[in-house]
């Protein structure tokens, strides 16, 4: 039993934190969030050079041959930095399906391919190609990625397909998204051609694995967000003076922050547990990912809400970065299913098994 990171993993975290803090200070983050494009495209090759896009990809395909535990460290730090870019989409949502094709993996590792996950209504065969039809809704980073991994029903059931973007196809409408650092869109396929990645029934296993990775990745992002909210809350409570004393001397303030610390640590423990289960393909991976996502999302939302309260009026302003973190946390909370729905799943295992 050893629930600690290796020195190499600690080093990865240190590297990630310092790179992201320098690369995306609060002013830059605000610029990106309010820009038309919504992300800093130039950052993607930098992430690839740091080895983050290929962390779990085999060395033969140009990756580092590591595991989801290393990716977990990156997810947490990207959450803390509120990174706007398709890392979550590419690495959590698309990678398990892309792994069916070594050439695609090599492109992800080198930074040459970003992707997200969408669903379409149907896939039908046309010679040696497949054609997709239908809408995929609420697709993360839809406007940014090079390709879509698509879940669609074919003649034999649900399969996974790859539709690369070319000549303004498929049709994409990016929504006015609450969290402008992770914009959602609708992807419309009108007989767009695609490549089969996984046929049924193998696709079902990949879809299950993808969902677990996504839940754990979001739990880790949520931990990063809670960590940021705690840090700015504490900083403000130390420096802001009222009645001649720092407001952090008042227990009504300090105990709120202590509660944020406690919940952040508990969320972190659950998220690391889920990450380890996924890396090891442990039998508890699904339960752990579900528990971690349900708990960490709520902890991150509460952490941001407490930090806003501690900041007073300033915490409620557009100029303060907190609201962007808050919106990401809310987005994480409503991704996939609510905490209550995850708890219902867990209750089923506990009470009906």
């Amino acid at each position: 039993m050893d629930f600690s990171f290796t020195p190499e993993q600690d080093q990865l975290r240190t590297q990630a934190r310092s790179f992201l803090e320098k690369r995306f200070p609060a002013t830059r983050l605000a610029e990106i969030a309010m820009s038309e494009d919504g992300w800093d495209r130039a950052s993607w090759p930098e992430l690839a050079r740091l080895g983050w896009t290929g962390a779990s990809i085999a060395e033969a395909q140009g990756g580092a041959g590591l595991s989801f535990v290393e990716e977990a460290i990156v997810f947490e730090e990207l959450g803390r930095a509120l990174y706007a870019g398709p890392y979550f989409s590419t690495i959590a949502l698309a990678l398990p399906a892309l792994a069916c094709a070594p050439d695609l993996l090599a492109r992800v590792a080198s930074g040459g391919l970003t992707a997200t996950l969408a669903s379409a209504v149907e896939a039908r065969r046309a010679g040696d190609r497949w054609l997709l039809r239908g809408d995929g809704d609420l697709v993360p980073d839809a406007g940014w990625v090079d390709a879509f991994v698509v879940e669609a029903r074919g003649p034999d059931g649900i399969g996974l397909y790859l539709a690369e973007r070319h000549d303004a196809r498929p049709l994409i409408r990016v929504f006015d998204t609450v969290d402008t650092t992770r914009r959602l869109g609708r992807v419309t396929f009108e007989d767009d051609s695609a490549r089969l990645l996984a046929a049924p029934p193998a696709a079902a296993e990949i879809i299950g694995r993808t969902r677990r990775r996504a839940l754990a990745a979001l739990a880790l992002e949520a931990v990063g967000i809670a960590g940021f909210a705690l840090a700015v809350g504490v900083e403000h409570a130390k420096s802001r003076q009222q009645f001649g004393r720092p407001i952090g001397t008042y227990q009504a303030v300090s105990h709120k922050l202590a509660d944020t610390y406690v919940e952040t640590e508990l969320a972190r423990s659950l998220a690391y547990w889920a990450a380890w289960c996924i890396a090891e393909d442990d039998a508890q991976a699904e339960l752990a990912a579900s528990a971690a996502k349900a708990y960490a999302a709520e902890a991150a939302v509460a952490a941001c809400e407490r930090a806003m309260q501690v900041h007073g009026g300033m915490g409620f302003t557009w100029d303060h970065p907190l609201h962007r973190y808050y919106k990401r946390a809310l987005g994480i909370e409503s991704f996939d299913r609510s905490g209550a729905a995850h708890r219902a799943d867990i209750a089923q295992v506990l009470l009906d098994g």
């Binding site: 039993m1 629930f3 952090g248 640590e265 508990l266 423990s269 867990i346 506990l350």
Partner: protein, 386 residues
């Protein structure tokens, strides 16, 4: 990172689990504290057996009769004890607090005199720290200790002392001098509980049981040899005692919570399996338990690396106490009308007792308010609130 037992831990766990299956006295499974003489008699025998089997002082250095094992063995021990619903060794204050304090601050003759009998459960220890006027503010204790010739004279009153009614010895924090800085002027003694002038009065709790006591000291003579550390240096010694209270404490708490969650799940399956609100709350408690468990494992890794318990101990105590209060209240709701009757030993009586007992959890061993202060000041670096 590997969340599985290593080969040595797995072997230790397997042996211990089998040993517990054949050794936990039937009368002590799911026991309610040491308040009845019958439980105490069983407890003494149980503790001796634990010691003989080598399960007392797992982390104590070998030179003092311990097993010299890393902390993870103590963690496995506490998990397995909880799993078997077996009570801890009766001498937990000696094993977890007095013993490590004596190892850190005691003279060779003191180590020789006290440590072996703590391990063997021949001598039971209690703690004389809190007073009627000094709870969270421990440094304000007023029990007086003065050096008169070749012995100390102790006068005063201590309170909330578990095991005092059966204890042979007491670790006592008392005031030897009135100083401007109240942390100075404190002295730490070992007091023989059979000394003339020591009077123990059990305190009855809201459950009706009496697990803890008041101790009155009236002109109690304590040999000079029983001084631990230096006269006026008691605060530092007391801090050693309290830091050990937090070492693997979290594992004992998560173990207890694990038992409670299992029983809650069984109760809900039995009586409220279809109620969506109950299902949501049961799942919440299960998630909280996992969060606490894995936080303990992270704390354990840090403890083994640095040798010092981190802030996770405060986190574990804070969240366990609140979880146990919520959980037992949920159980009472599920039990419903019958929870008003305390008869017998079925589910209603069990949960009624647990729910009432849980109210002490946010007070004993550091109130939730003090724990939040500790986190705010020592972990987050916020300015002191007083």
């Amino acid at each position: 990172m590997d969340l599985r037992d290593g080969p040595d831990e797995a072997a230790f766990r397997t042996t211990l689990r089998a040993w517990l299956e054949s050794n936990v006295p039937a009368g002590l499974r799911g026991f309610r504290g040491w308040s009845s003489p019958a439980a105490l008699a069983l407890g003494r025998d149980w503790s001796r057996r634990l010691a003989q089997a080598g399960y007392a002082g797992l982390t104590w250095p070998k030179e003092y009769g311990g097993a010299g094992q890393p902390w993870r063995y103590q963690a496995v021990y506490l998990e397995e004890l909880a799993r078997a619903e077996a009570p801890q060794h009766l001498g937990v204050i000696g094993l977890g607090m007095a013993g490590p304090t004596i190892i850190a601050h005691g003279r060779p003759d003191q180590k020789a005199r006290y440590l072996a009998k703590i391990l063997s459960a021949e001598e039971i220890w209690c703690q004389g720290f809190s007073e009627p006027g000094s709870g969270s503010d421990l440094a304000s204790v007023r029990t007086r200790v003065e050096l008169v010739g070749d012995h100390f004279l102790v006068n005063g009153q201590k309170v909330w002392s578990s095991y005092a009614q059966i204890a042979d010895r007491c670790i006592l924090l008392a005031r030897s001098a009135v100083t401007d800085e109240k942390h100075e002027g404190l002295t730490y003694l070992v007091v023989d509980m059979k000394s003339p002038g020591v009077e123990v009065r059990p305190l009855r709790q809201i459950t009706g049981e009496a697990e803890f006591n008041e101790i009155f000291f009236t002109d109690v003579a304590v040999p000079k040899d029983n001084l631990l550390g230096e006269i006026g240096g008691g605060w530092r010694v007391a801090m050693t005692t309290l830091s050990h209270e937090r070492g693997t404490f979290g594992f004992a708490l998560a173990g207890a919570l694990d038992v409670a969650v299992r029983k809650l799940v069984a109760l809900a399956r039995d009586r409220a399996g279809a109620d969506a609100l109950v299902r949501d709350r049961v799942a919440r408690e299960w998630i909280d338990l996992q969060a606490l468990r894995y936080t303990n494992y992270r704390a354990l890794a840090r403890l083994e690396r640095t040798g010092a318990p981190g802030p996770e101990g405060s986190v574990a105590k804070l969240r366990w106490s609140e979880a146990n209060q919520r959980l037992t209240k949920l159980a009472i709701e599920i039990v419903g009308q019958e929870s008003r009757v305390a008869d017998g030993d079925g589910a209603p009586a069990y949960w009624r007792y647990q729910q009432l007992r849980s109210r002490g959890n946010t007070i004993e061993a550091g109130t939730s308010e003090i724990l939040r202060n500790i986190i705010a000041e020592r972990v987050l670096g916020l300015p002191r609130s007083r």
